[in-house]
């Protein structure tokens, strides 16, 4: 019978083991620090939940249908905020994406573009909303601006990745035939990227519906305004209605957007 033996150990096994041990210690230390220094007031949380459970949970599941009109109007505003915001973002993101893509404008512009996009992405939507509420006042347009800027970061990144993945042979063929830059853009680049751009823009609209439904918490319009009022007044029946509206609208838009995107790509 043939003898089987283990293959020889790779040479860097020792260094790898050291590295793994260091990582393990770091992770364990992180967890010890986290769990020992977080202060959760268990007593109060349990006491409160015992008091509130009966008052809150059943009411959430028996929505206040009387508020249907008001809730649907706010939800409609939320959809408008998301629509206007994501369309603006889709338009602003296009030049930024061309700037950030490394096969279009050259290396240095690409680095600048990528930095701009990741700087925008680092701001949470709500922080942007706070800034715009201070700047243009507490209304839905602050929400539109927050969504527009917030989505530009993500959309620009996606768009630039799409541009980087296009077939450059078509571009070269057109260059060889003596086409100018505008012609190359319209006949070689755009036909390759438009379907995917649209698909991502529609996907972003889906995400923005969720984002815009909470902007009202800082005063930027939409259904979030009602959420914060319902919570402050402990009106949990109305909160149930709001939740129901959000779930229904988000589900419908997710479904529709998935169908449209399937058709486009």
């Amino acid at each position: 019978m043939e003898q089987y033996s283990l293959p020889p150990k790779p040479k860097n096994a020792f260094m790898k083991r050291i590295r793994n041990i260091v990582i393990a210690i770091a992770v364990v230390a992180l967890y010890i620090w986290t769990f020992t220094s977080i202060d959760i007031d268990w007593g109060r949380a349990i006491e409160r939940s015992l008091n509130n459970f009966q008052r809150v949970i059943p009411k959430l599941f028996s929505p206040d249908w009387g508020a249907l009109g008001e809730v649907s109007l706010s939800m409609l505003e939320t959809v408008f905020i998301a629509f206007a915001g994501s369309l603006m973002a889709a338009i602003i993101a296009v030049p930024l994406a061309f700037l950030a893509a490394n096969n279009m404008m050259g290396k240095y512009f690409s680095i600048i573009g990528k930095w701009i996009l990741s700087a925008i992405r680092a701001f949470p939507d709500l922080i942007l909303a706070i800034l715009f509420v201070v700047a243009v006042g507490p209304n839905a347009f602050a929400g539109v601006l927050a969504i527009a800027i917030g989505s530009t970061g993500m959309l620009g990144k996606m768009f630039s990745e799409i541009i980087e993945s296009i077939d450059m042979q078509v571009v070269e063929a057109m260059q060889a035939n003596g086409a100018n830059r505008i012609q190359i853009l319209f006949y070689a680049v755009l036909p390759q990227i438009i379907p995917e751009f649209l698909s991502y823009a529609i996907y972003r609209f889906e995400v923005d519906i969720r984002a815009s439904s909470i902007l009202g918490i800082v005063g930027a319009g939409g259904i979030g305004t009602m959420i914060i009022f319902a919570a402050n007044n402990r009106n949990w029946n109305e909160m149930g209605m709001i939740l129901l509206a959000i779930i229904v609208v988000v589900t419908i838009i997710d479904f529709a957007s998935a169908k449209i995107r399937q058709k486009i790509v």
Binding site: S37, I38, E77, L126, F141, S213, I214, I217, A231
Partner: protein, 276 residues
């Protein structure tokens, strides 16, 4: 692209006419869709600005003077916000860890190739879809109502919110695995647990870790703003400072949040690149 090429080659035979890339029917459709989108956009812009005092021009002109109030940021408050900042990160760590554990059975239940019992698969899929429709801050508002102001409702909101995303992403990863090792294990008499442990886990583990880190990034962003509704962390301080109209302090907090988010994302990205 083949369409484009063939049209372009046709063009050489009839050089006096500029070729079009698309048929007339598509053009009509695109025009109709374009105008519908434009109309909805104009209406949205009108609707969202109807309550605005002074219109867009006034507001944008005003923006400069208002933004000026935020500068220069007052970094003297740095020692006071260090604790809530660390608390924010801790909330994200705890929530991500717990979500990463709970997500395993949920992801297995909602993966088509593991859960062969159809009703159960559809049930868990629908459950996850519903879970994902509720925004994190709405969950936080409800949990603050239930458990009072503090870190605990924030962590709970983060867990449930990230559970929906994580379970969906991981179940998709599971659905994309190579089924041959699993079949081989089953053929040689492995039970369900053995099949999962020896054939599925080694294939999914790198992506699993990477996705957990990704969700950790999302949780950091989310936990930053949870304090706005009283669910602990740095958002609470930010809300207070905004309430006092103390804009230089607020700007300092926003800049620090910005730096921390970028830093954590950078580290997490490096780890993920090393993993996959």
């Amino acid at each position: 692209m083949t369409k484009g090429k063939s049209v372009l080659s046709q063009a050489s035979s009839e050089t006096n006419k500029i070729p079009t890339l698309y048929p007339a029917k598509t053009k009509l459709q695109v025009t109709v869709i374009f105008f519908t989108v434009l109309i909805i956009y104009i209406f949205s812009m009108y609707w969202t600005q109807r309550e605005m005092v002074g219109g867009v021009g006034g507001a944008l002109g005003n923006m400069y003077t208002v933004i000026k109030k935020f500068f220069p940021p007052n970094f003297a408050i740095l020692p006071n916000i260090l604790d809530p900042l660390l608390q924010t990160i801790q909330m994200a760590i705890i929530a991500t860890t717990i979500a990463a554990i709970i997500t395993i059975p949920l992801a297995l239940l909602s993966a088509r190739n593991v859960t062969t019992f159809k009703p159960l698969y559809y049930f868990s899929r629908t459950f996850l879809n519903l879970l994902r429709t509720i925004p994190d801050l709405v969950l936080a508002v409800i949990f603050v109502g239930l458990f009072g102001i503090g870190v605990f409702p924030g962590i709970l909101a983060l867990i449930i919110f990230s559970l929906g995303i994580l379970a969906k992403l991981i179940s998709e990863t599971i659905e994309a695995v190579d089924m041959n090792p699993m079949e081989a294990m089953r053929a040689s008499g492995g039970n369900t647990l053995q099949v999962i442990w020896y054939a599925l886990v080694p294939q999914v583990l790198p992506q699993y870790t990477s996705l957990v880190l990704y969700v950790f990034e999302i949780n950091i962003r989310a936990s930053v703003v949870l304090g706005l509704v009283g669910a602990g962390g740095i958002g609470l301080i930010l809300n207070q400072q905004l309430g006092f109209y103390n804009y230089p302090n607020a700007m300092a907090i926003i800049i620090i949040i910005f730096v921390v988010v970028i830093l954590i994302e950078y580290i997490s990205n490096k780890i993920r690149e090393a993993l996959v």
